[in-house]
């Protein structure tokens, strides 16, 4: 009997092979394509991929809609930036840790309020809190630089076990750091999603009322899911400021928040790699089309409309479509 259980869930070996191939290609990428523009582009895809993936822990796995998950990327980025400017300009790991801790400390009371609601009310609260953070960052000129953004963030060296691997100001080194951290977060999230804890989140997504009537403390587990998603967003924020050396309030705007939501929808919610692919597509369109026309949003909108019409389950739906096609 127990064999049936293990068989049911075991990961297909092809998936592991595919993951290793993708990671290998991504690792080799900056050595093959040495153009700084492209390295930075893919770096940004990875960072937003992490953010979109963490949003999908809420949206696709717990069934909670957050309109402004970018607010927590922003908070993480500002904290890491301020830490590097004012506290310790060369402590990269400490700065990242501070970013995650402070983001979590801010996310906790917000989450505590939000999980008391569900559905649309929850979504509206995420919007309200997100816009509040946006306004604070925008208006608190003396701390954040307001409209001008946070500038002059130092680029600390990346050190592991006392060995200096290079400066975070170097696009290739920074790219590899992002890749490494995003990969670790991906594996960690994969583990969590498939754990007993992940099963609880799925139950809440499927039917909140039934979840509480099998004995789940729904609010508490929603809060755990929320905290995890915000922590990952904080990590992505830390990487963001290290790679850019700059952040402005527009990164935390509702418009940018809708972009992150689109990444998840384009990639396909309810999977971990879907949103990362979605982020890739979105960032590519944004950066590439914006070099050709300043009306890039129009084209992004069009592409999203096409995807929603023809791939309603997002990019991951394409995979299912192809496997079915092959079988027939």
């Amino acid at each position: 009997m127990s064999e049936m259980v293990t068989k049911r869930r075991s990961t297909h070996p092809m998936k592991i092979v595919a993951l290793l191939i993708v990671v290998t290609c991504l690792t080799l990428f900056p050595f093959v394509v040495t153009n700084r523009f492209y390295i930075s582009l893919v770096n940004e895809m990875l960072i937003y991929g992490l953010l979109a993936m963490s949003l999908d822990v809420l949206l696709g796995y717990t069934g909670l809609l957050s309109f402004m998950h970018n607010a927590y990327l922003g908070l993480g980025a500002y904290v890491v930036g301020l830490f590097l400017i004012h506290v310790a300009p060369s402590s990269l790991w400490l700065a990242l840790l501070a970013g995650v801790v402070v983001t979590s400390v801010i996310a906790l009371p917000v989450g505590w309020v939000q999980v008391r609601t569900g559905g649309l009310a929850f979504a509206l609260l995420t919007l309200a809190f997100g816009m509040m953070f946006y306004t604070i960052v925008w208006k608190w000129y003396s701390l954040t630089g307001g409209d001008d953004g946070l500038m002059g963030v130092p680029h600390p060296d990346i050190q592991v076990l006392g060995i200096t691997l290079g400066s975070s100001g170097n696009p290739t080194t920074m790219y590899l750091l992002s890749l490494c951290i995003v990969f670790i977060c991906f594996l960690l999230t994969w583990r969590i999603i498939h754990s007993p804890f992940g099963a609880v989140l799925e139950a809440i997504r499927e039917n909140e009322e039934r979840a509480s009537f099998v004995g789940i403390n729904v609010r508490r587990y929603k809060l755990y899911g929320w905290m995890y998603a915000c922590m990952l967003a904080g990590v992505s924020g830390g990487l963001f400021i290290l790679y850019r050396g700059y952040i402005g309030p527009t990164t935390m705007s509702a418009f940018a928040g809708a972009g992150v939501l689109m990444m998840v929808l384009v990639g396909g919610m309810g999977s971990l790699w879907g949103p990362i692919v979605g982020a890739g597509i979105f960032i590519f369109m944004q950066d590439y089309i914006s070099t050709m026309t300043e009306h890039w949003e129009l084209f992004v909108g069009l592409v999203v409309i096409m995807l929603v019409l023809f791939l309603p389950r997002g990019f991951i739906g394409l995979g299912d479509y192809l496997t079915r096609f092959r079988k027939e």
Binding site: M1, S2, M4, V5, T6, R8, R9, R191, I192, H194, S195, P196, F197, G198, A199, V200, E202, A203, R205, E206, N207, E209, R210, A211, S212, F213, V214, G215, I216, N217, V218, Y221
Partner: protein
């Protein structure tokens, strides 16, 4: 027989509608008590208040000598007060196995394990298979529950409630929409449950009620109008009137 759960002067009103009106009921261990009454009598509301779906307007719910009035549903479930719903409530997107497994996991523990595989919870798996076996759902373990036939979905919900190791189980019209064969199967199953636990059954199928109940409580317009064995209820004039009066 010991009383496991009782209500003391329980009231629930919706605006001007008194859905539960001064109900004093006692549920005894290893007893099957049916609650019957015409549509809108307040049967579902009564269960909703006891199981923490709705707050009581006044009165108390006492479970094993402990006041549990208005405790949240998940706390009551952990104490052993479980239920099914009149309108099927299951995790539609999950497999039959996973539906029962998550209920067993909550009961046995392990929900905070974030670094292990969910298949690794041995006791949870054993219990899940045991319940699926008992309810003859084993062959459908891998079926997504939204692909199940209606009768099997109703049965699955009972399985989920049982996975919570109830001491008292409330079933709100479990046979609704079932075929005669399915109804017979679940009626036998429900009767069998009283070997170990208390069962409270809300049911419109009088044939089932009269056959398997130990005791019957009749509700009308939120009040208890009669209580007793199936035989005495059958002969009760007030009960006949209540049913005829409301068509």
């Amino acid at each position: 027989m010991t009383t496991i759960l009782s209500t003391k002067s329980l009231h629930k009103h919706f605006g001007g509608v008194l859905a539960v009106n001064d109900v004093n009921a006692e549920f005894k261990a290893r007893q099957l008590r049916s609650i019957i009454g015409p549509n809108g009598a307040g049967k579902t509301t009564f269960i909703n208040v006891i199981t923490g779906k709705l707050p009581a307007s006044s009165g108390a719910v006492v479970f094993q000598e402990q006041d549990v009035t208005n405790r949240p549903a998940h706390v009551l479930v952990r104490l052993g007060i479980c239920r099914t719903f009149q309108i099927t409530s299951i995790f539609m997107g999950l497999s039959v196995f996973e539906n029962v497994r998550i209920a067993a996991q909550t009961e046995i523990g392990g929900s905070l394990r974030v670094f292990s595989a969910r298949e690794g919870l041995k006791n949870v798996n054993t219990k899940t298979w045991e319940i699926l076996h008992r309810l003859e759902l084993k062959d459908k373990a891998d079926v997504p529950s939204n692909n199940l036939a209606h009768g099997d979905q109703r049965l699955l919900e009972v399985a989920m409630a049982l996975a919570g190791d109830p001491k008292i189980l409330f079933l709100d019209e479990p046979t609704a929409g079932m075929s005669p064969a399915e109804t017979e199967h679940i009626a036998q199953l429900i009767k069998g449950l009283t070997d170990t636990i208390a069962v409270v059954l809300v049911e419109h199928d009088m044939d089932v009620v009269m056959r398997i109940s130990d005791e019957i409580t009749v509700l009308d317009q939120g009040r208890i109008i009669a209580e007793g064995s199936p035989r005495t209820i059958q002969d009760n004039e007030l009960v006949k009137e209540a049913y005829l009066g409301h068509g």
